[in-house]
Structure formats: structure tokens, C-alpha cells
Symmetry: C2
Subunit: 434 residues, 2 copies
């Protein structure tokens, strides 16, 4: 038996705003950041658990403080106990009544819980010598159902229904693992489409994306209708008729505005409209989905928890569900969301990019393919070619696909040099910028 | 012209868990707390702006850190500019794109914005020499509409509709101010109903509440059905048939569970069922409302923002809307919510209790009566007789009513001795408890 001896936190920020990478209609100048933690033990096996919340700059110190607030639930605990029953561990963190008041189950505190939960999964996967997707895909349906908190879900999904979904997918698991290794998991790229880029840069990057084998690109929209029409037309000319073009408004519109705006972009064969309005507006998304059909509505990167996803599925608010590795309370809650999506027959196309989101979320989609949905038809994981060099196991994306990681862990671990260099405000990168 | 010279923050906690005051089905041992701030200026008029977020203990330091993260938006600004256009000031804080990522518009960061906004309103009211309710009730409809951010609201409420509501209520403003001073604003009490109290204490306190003139009491429920039936029956026996009894499940149930449970309590003439399930579950609340009718559903103390309230009104999720002074982004957002409630014809009965919530929220209900809804029919503000002695202008509640405050300010200001004594972890109260 071993004990958790430390939970160290780090405020890591990359000065991305200098290049307008990541610029969109709501976020003109993000500094991609991570509120980061490392869980250490006395097991003597060299394994640590790493996890993070992705933020875009200011306030990363608040998120780091929220992770610190969870230290008392982790420090001094027996590692084997915490990791053996990750369903109970999730509840230990998420059901702390005093901390719950700060959400409940949303925002800063909930994301912090997600980071700690993900760090524990990282540790568990490393101790098992498996990449997270394979660790999860090797668990029995009963073990997987025990990871999920069904509170507030039973009007849409009961434990028995979840069990049925997982049992139905059990027979083909091995064949799908092989398919994953042979074919990869489809990826699309947002690299060409940032709002701060010129038309020339957009066109060049869109052509590069096609040459790199991506079957879909995504463009940011929502700041100016004229600009959007011009940019979507330029992108369509660059990629030809067969590559899909999705657009992303990053919550910029009200309901009617979204419907009206999209009528102007519809002629360019739009794969989906992402985040047309507030991520809290379940009924608004449903109205937009009716108003822009047959263009599918995609959302999820800012959807706060499983309860809101449940309702979006109940109401027909989305046709593409975009999980995010670092927005909800970690792997456990994302499994709940994958099960909800499977119950409602809605495809999951994860949000990624940022810092480490690609590295983390690929495990969830691959697990979903092998053990939950049983298909990757019409599914694709976002890819942005930024900041991967800071991770010990960066994603392997080529030929328009994510290729399954084989290194043990959940993909969350940054290089120790990165943690030192980009530490805010006292790391050398930030000291020099002043 | 004067400048904001300081924004000081305080982590204030009261050891209420020792007495089980405030205990309910989800919160067994709260330590009522406030993440508190004081805005100071160089105006030389002696006025400060005070504001707070109410929390229940652990994590209050995270909330305090979130308030700190807003300092850069306030410090060094010209006081007159910030206070002259509080609509623009609200957007300055709420639309910070990097901080917005931490919500958006929910949880720790959003509540922190509310505390700063409320501190600025406190300062503005003190400088005007008016209690906040009277300051607001003296603004023109156009000025009030300019306080509201209509983003994500226009499918339910447009600025023109808001203007119509406010103009319709303009004629009777003076008469209603007089009525308020003559009659007070109805109050109900939760003091008898905490889950940790014995039946004997419940009965005694319920009888005292009736003797004190309250027309409604509220009981916590949701932990044990047998206990609830016994406690509701005891309360009904204590207060007689004419005093209303509301019950509050503090988010304990799933949808069907809520409907089934309430069928057992319905025979005791229940005034409303409060927080039957997750505050995020708009569709779940609507299903419960249909299932427990004619018992009204009440919720709001944990509803994160105006967008969720909008949908709850659209979906028929609630029949009693419970604003909270410290959950959303301050006075401005609560005005948006009051306008939404008026548009949908739903009564507003604020959540209060905690620390300072009574002192703060009474201003909003009184403003609502004078200038928005124009009625206090069937409306009542929660009252809990705790911790008022820590405020410089404690509420005046007697004869079952809140009596309108006449002191300048928004009611948020704690005694300086309290700030010193209850500071966590180094104030004397906490030092001695170790």
C-alpha cells in the first residue's frame, strides 16, 4: 500500500496572444494556459498523476487556487483505495457540500475537480502500464457503470440502460481496437480558421489541411457577416466541394440572429454550426437547430456538466455533441456524457486544441469507439497544431487521423522544462516579456 | 473627480456548523462565510463600497481569489465614470474574455463579478445618500434598461419590452413607496425548519414564528420521507391551517423521485416545493412542476444567471422565482431577472438567510414592488434570524414584514470588528477554535 505524499500545483501560461493564434469572435487575445497539478506518491515506482484545467489567461491563478482547495481530499490517502474505486473517489470530490456551493457542479470549482480526477486517472493508467483509452476499454460494463454518478440523470438514463449500452458493445471490442490501430480515428483541423488570420493565410492553410489529409476544416465566424461570407467562400474555393467546412460562432449570437446569419452561410455547404449562442441556452439551441436545419448544431466545449448535456439531448438542442476533456469533472463525467450520447444516438465530435486538450480527449473518443458507441462513423476529433511539443506524449496526427497512443497514462503530462519556463508570473518566459 | 485607490478583500467565516444552523439535506454542516471586498476612493467623503459573495465554508478562499482577479478592472479608475454608467461597468467586468472562459457567466468567477458590482452599487447609493432600493426606484425606465445586458435574452425579452414594463409601473411609484413604509414587505421564516433540529425545537420555533406575525414558514425536507411526513405534520399542527408551510429539498431528488415524494407531503397543504432537483435542470423542473401541480415549484438561489432563469420561465419550470443577491452578477443581472419575471407574470420571492443575504436582497424586492412588478401580492422575502448583528444596517423585520431601510447604501457593509474577528484562518475566532 502506498500513500499520496504531495499535490503540487502550477500556473502555466503561454503568450499565444502575440500571434493571434486561437482568436475568435468572443476571445480576441487568449493566452493559452493550464492550471496544472502533479500528484506524487511514496510507491517508489516513479509514477506521478498529472492533470490540468485549460484556461485562456487571466484567472488561471483562480483555477489553480481551486485545485489547491481539493488538496485535503487527496493528500495522505491510500493510493490503492482511491484508484480502486474511482466512482467513489469522484463522489468524494464532487459531493463535498461546502465546495459544491461554489457551483454547484459548474465553473471554476467543477473544472478543478476534473483536473484532480484526471490526474488520478493518469496515475492509474501509468500504474497499469496502459494508455487511458485501453485501460477504460478493458473495464467490464459493471465497472464502467460504477464510475458514473447517475444523480439527476435517471429521467434520461438509468444505470440499467447504461449497462445495456455497454454490454451491447462488448462483443466487438477487440476488433475495434485493431481497427483503431489500422485506421486511426478521424481528425479535423481548425488551424486555418482563426478569426485574426488574413484571407491569404486562411486560403494557404486550408489547402495545406487538404494536402495533409483532413476531410474537414473549421472556420471561426460571428464578428462580421460580410467577412464571414467572404471567408467561407474563400475556404470553399480553396478546399473544393468534397471537404467539409464547419463554422464556429463561439457563443456570439442571440437565437434569431443565429438563424438569420446562418441563412447567409448555408449556400456554402456547412458541416455544422458550432456554439451559435450561450452554452447555457438549451431551449435557444433547440430553436436554432430547428431554424437552421438541415445544418446540424454542435456544442459542448463550454457545457458545464452532464445535467445540461442531458437536457440538450432531450430537447434536440444539438446534433453533434462536443465533449471537452477539461471542462466537466473529468473522465468519469465524460463517460456519463458518452453514455447519454449513445442512448440518444447522437454523434460525439470532441472539442480540442488549447493546451493538451488533443492529448487528453483522444483517449475518450477511442474508448467510446471501442466500448460505448461502437462506431466512428461521421465522428471526428478537433485538431489544432499548437503547443504539442510541451507534452511528453504528444498526439500522433497524420493522414487526417489521430493514431492511438500506446504510452501509459492519460496524455496530460507536460515536460518539466515547460513547467519551469512558462510558470506565471515568475518563469523566464514571462520575466523576459516584462 | 475621484479615483478608486484600493480594493481590499477578506475571507470571513462564521463557525455556524457547531450549532447545525443552516443544515439541510445537501448541506449538513455549513460554516456560513463571505468572500468580502471594500472599494476605497480618494474622494475624501468617507464613503466605501462593500460587497460579498456568500459561501458555506471551504472554498471561500477561492472565491476571494476570484474577486482579487477583478482588481485590475477597478483600481485606478475614475469613480464618477464607473458609477455614472453602471451598465457599461457591468459589461467591463462580465465581458472580460479571458475571465469569461472560467464560466462563462457562472460559478466562482460570475459570483465574484457580482460582489464587485454590488460593492460599486453600495458606493453609488452612499454617495447619493439613499438606500439602494430608493436609488433604483428613482431611475427612469431608460436608465434602468441601460443597466441590463440583453445578450441571450432577446428571444424572451427585448429592450423595448423591458421599457414598456417599466413605463407601465411609473405612475404609481410614489404611492407604492408610501405603501412600503406603511405596510412593509411580507417576510417568511426558515428559522424553525432546519433539518438538524429536533421535532420539539421545530414545534416551538414554528409557534414562535406565528406569534411573531409570519404568515409562512419553511421546512427542509428530502433526507428521509418518514421524517419529512412526521415533521410536516408536526409543523402543521403547530401553526394551524392558515399559516403557509413551504418545503425545501435543496436539490436532493431526481425528477420522478421528487414527484413521488411530494405526493406524500401534498395532504399537508404545501405552499411550494423549493429546489426539488439540480438547479441546472430546466426541463426536469418543468416535468416536476407538471407532476406536483397544483403545488408550485420554487427555485433560483443556485440558478447561475439570467439565461437559465429565462429558460425556466419559458419552460414553465417554476411558479415562484427566487432571486439571490449574491449568486448572479450583482444588481444589474438581478434587474434583468426581475424584468423577465414581470414579462412572464411570475412572482418573485427572494432567497435569503446566510450572511447578509437578507440585508442585500430586500432592496431588490422593494425596488421591484415600486418600479417593476408594481405589486407585492403573494410575494414574500425569506428571513432567517442569524448573523444580522454583524452588519452596520441590519434588517428591520417585525410583524412578519421587512421594513424599508432608510440608511444610505446597499446593505452589504459588515462591522469592522466582525471583519477582524472572523477573518479566516488568522482572526481570533478561528485561532481560538484550534
Amino acid at each position: 500500500m502506498s500513500t499520496i505524499t504531495a499535490m503540487d500545483t502550477f500556473d502555466i501560461r503561454f503568450p499565444t496572444s502575440l500571434e493571434l493564434d486561437g482568436s475568435d469572435a468572443m476571445n480576441p487575445d487568449p493566452d493559452y494556459s493550464a492550471a496544472y497539478l502533479i500528484i506524487r506518491t511514496d510507491a517508489g515506482d516513479g509514477h506521478e498523476g498529472h492533470g490540468f484545467v485549460f484556461t485562456i489567461g487571466r484567472g488561471n491563478e483562480v483555477e489553480t487556487a481551486a485545485i489547491e482547495a481539493l488538496r485535503g481530499h487527496v493528500l495522505g490517502r491510500t493510493v490503492e483505495d482511491l484508484l480502486a474505486d474511482m466512482g467513489a473517489t469522484w463522489k468524494l470530490l464532487a459531493h463535498d457540500s461546502q465546495l459544491r456551493w461554489l457551483g454547484p457542479e459548474k465553473g471554476v470549482m467543477h473544472m478543478a475537480i476534473g483536473a484532480v480526477v484526471n490526474a488520478l486517472w493518469d496515475l492509474k493508467a501509468k500504474r497499469a502500464g496502459l494508455p487511458l483509452w485501453e485501460l477504460l476499454a478493458g473495464m467490464t460494463p459493471d465497472e464502467l457503470v460504477a464510475l458514473v454518478d447517475f444523480r439527476y440523470l435517471t429521467d434520461a438514463l438509468t444505470p440499467d440502460e447504461a449497462l445495456d449500452i455497454l454490454r451491447a458493445a462488448q462483443p466487438g471490442r477487440e476488433a475495434r481496437k485493431e481497427a483503431l490501430r489500422a485506421e486511426g480515428y478521424p481528425a479535423y483541423t481548425t488551424t486555418p480558421g482563426w478569426l485574426g488570420y488574413s484571407d491569404e493565410k486562411l486560403t494557404r492553410l486550408a489547402k495545406e489541411a487538404v494536402a495533409d489529409g483532413f476531410a474537414q476544416i473549421k472556420l471561426k465566424v460571428g464578428a462580421s457577416l460580410d467577412d464571414d461570407i467572404r471567408r467561407v467562400r474563400a475556404a470553399r474555393a480553396a478546399v473544393g466541394p468534397d471537404v467539409r467546412i464547419a463554422v464556429d460562432a463561439n457563443q456570439r449570437w442571440d437565437v434569431q440572429e443565429a438563424i438569420d446569419w446562418m441563412a447567409h452561410l448555408a449556400p456554402y455547404d456547412i458541416a455544422w454550426i458550432e456554439e451559435p449562442t450561450s452554452p447555457d441556452d438549451i431551449l435557444g439551441h433547440a430553436a436554432i437547430a430547428r431554424g437552421v436545419a438541415p445544418i446540424p448544431v454542435a456544442t459542448g466545449e463550454h457545457v458545464q456538466n452532464r445535467v445540461v448535456f442531458k437536457q440538450m439531448l432531450q430537447a434536440g438542442s444539438l446534433q453533434v455533441l462536443q465533449i471537452d476533456a477539461a471542462r466537466v469533472a473529468g473522465v468519469n463525467e465524460n463517460i456519463a456524457i458518452l453514455l447519454l450520447a449513445a442512448k440518444f444516438g447522437v454523434r460525439v465530435c470532441p472539442h480540442a486544441g488549447g493546451v493538451g486538450l488533443c492529448e487528453a480527449v483522444q483517449h475518450l473518443s477511442m474508448f467510446d469507439f471501442v466500448a460505448v458507441a461502437g462506431t466512428k462513423e461521421d465522428r471526428t476529433i478537433e485538431f489544432v497544431d499548437h503547443l504539442h511539443e510541451h507534452f511528453i506524449t504528444p498526439v500522433d496526427v497524420h493522414d487526417g487521423a489521430y493514431w492511438p497512443p500506446s504510452d501509459p497514462g492519460a496524455g496530460n503530462e507536460m515536460l518539466s522544462e515547460t513547467l519551469a519556463a512558462y510558470s506565471f508570473p515568475n518563469g523566464p518566459v514571462w520575466k523576459e516579456s516584462r
